[in-house]
Symmetry: C2
Subunit: 218 residues, 2 copies
């Protein structure tokens, strides 16, 4: 991870104006930082020093269970806060965040800003909206996981993540996200191919029958 200095710092602050989320001038407090692909933004167990606002790149939020299995709770994409739960509850970090691509964040130091933040109605309102949407998304995802078999959820996932009818996500990430074993994920991919809805290519799958895929996804 590295902190950006001027003029780069200012470039990002201008490109992603964050002041509107606060009722006081936040810019002087903010550091702009970049994480390499694969770096950890938060590790389970520590206390966060910054509240981050992700502006570029993609990261994943996950938890490691006692039995060693990992659940990928969500992919995080701009714009999103990270570390807000710990800010509110003075807790240790219970979920790791690791970048998937190079990531740029605006970092608000908790030590110096906490009091200001927790009494700022503008910020708190934004945070409420953000948190409520997060809760809604997560609970929707998991109730669906529970009620539909993988073939339906995978059809839906292929549709939302394909770009120009071409799907190329990593199986290793997707099986954690959808909460199934790697093996089973491949079984179901094979089935969708057999049924002629998608077709395997060198580095991904081509959607060949969008209509039937949509029906499966419901």
């Amino acid at each position: 991870m590295q902190y950006l200095v001027e003029p780069l710092r200012n470039y990002y602050l201008t490109k992603y104006p964050i002041e509107t989320l606060f009722s006081f001038p936040i810019t002087p407090y903010i550091q702009v930082c970049q994480f390499e692909r694969g770096e950890f933004i938060f590790k389970e167990g520590s206390y966060p020093e910054y509240l981050y606002y992700l502006v570029e790149g993609k990261a994943k939020l996950y938890v490691t269970h006692e039995n060693g299995k990992v659940s990928l709770i969500n992919f995080l994409q701009a714009p999103t806060f990270m570390g807000e739960i710990e800010l509110l509850n003075e807790e240790r970090i219970s979920k790791a965040i690791q970048t998937v691509t190079k990531v740029t964040c605006l970092a608000i130091p908790i030590h110096t800003c906490k009091e200001k933040l927790l009494t700022d109605a503008t910020f708190l309102r934004q945070l409420c909206i953000f948190l409520s949407q997060k809760a809604t998304t997560i609970s929707a995802k998991y109730t669906e996981n529970q009620v539909y078999p993988l073939i339906n959820r995978l059809a839906a996932f292929i549709l939302v993540s394909a770009d120009h009818d071409f799907y190329k996500e990593k199986h290793t990430e997707v099986c954690e996200y959808l909460g199934v074993s790697y093996r089973h994920l491949l079984h179901v991919f094979a089935k969708l191919c057999e049924e002629g809805m998608i077709k395997k290519q060198s580095r991904g799958f081509m959607i060949v029958d969008r209509f039937r895929l949509q029906q499966l996804a419901k």
Copy 2:
């Protein structure tokens, strides 16, 4: 549902002081209302008129899927807000809330109070804390659902919900809460009995080997 009048209204307002959650005097706006067991507090699809604060009783929050299955997302117990997500996002209600016992709520009319609420830092901060805890609870529940088979989760559930080593929850509710079929829930109860960890009684189960149950629950 019925609204309580004085002196009962005042009795509840005194017993459950809610003013501390706001920076302005909220009491004049509040109605106290009671729902009978089994009544709906929210039905999917409508817009809420009140933000409720549950002070007595127990309710369940659930969602009905397109395939007709129902997921019980969470049991709601005092103290908790209901309808806060719709207040923040101006959305239709996407999750039904039905009471499990008789329920008493403090009801804040959205129509008259919305602006005041959404600019009140004290309230917003409380709501942020509430929402973040809700998000944490729900995501913990579902990631566990996904990673542990029912026998482990049921062991844990029996331990937390038993009273003096006696478990007497309704199977019909529990299978929805744990996200499995009724049939499968009973299979696993039978298994725990066979293994001698619990023992069936006329209207519930007695815990007879707490230690092994705890090991299963991990």
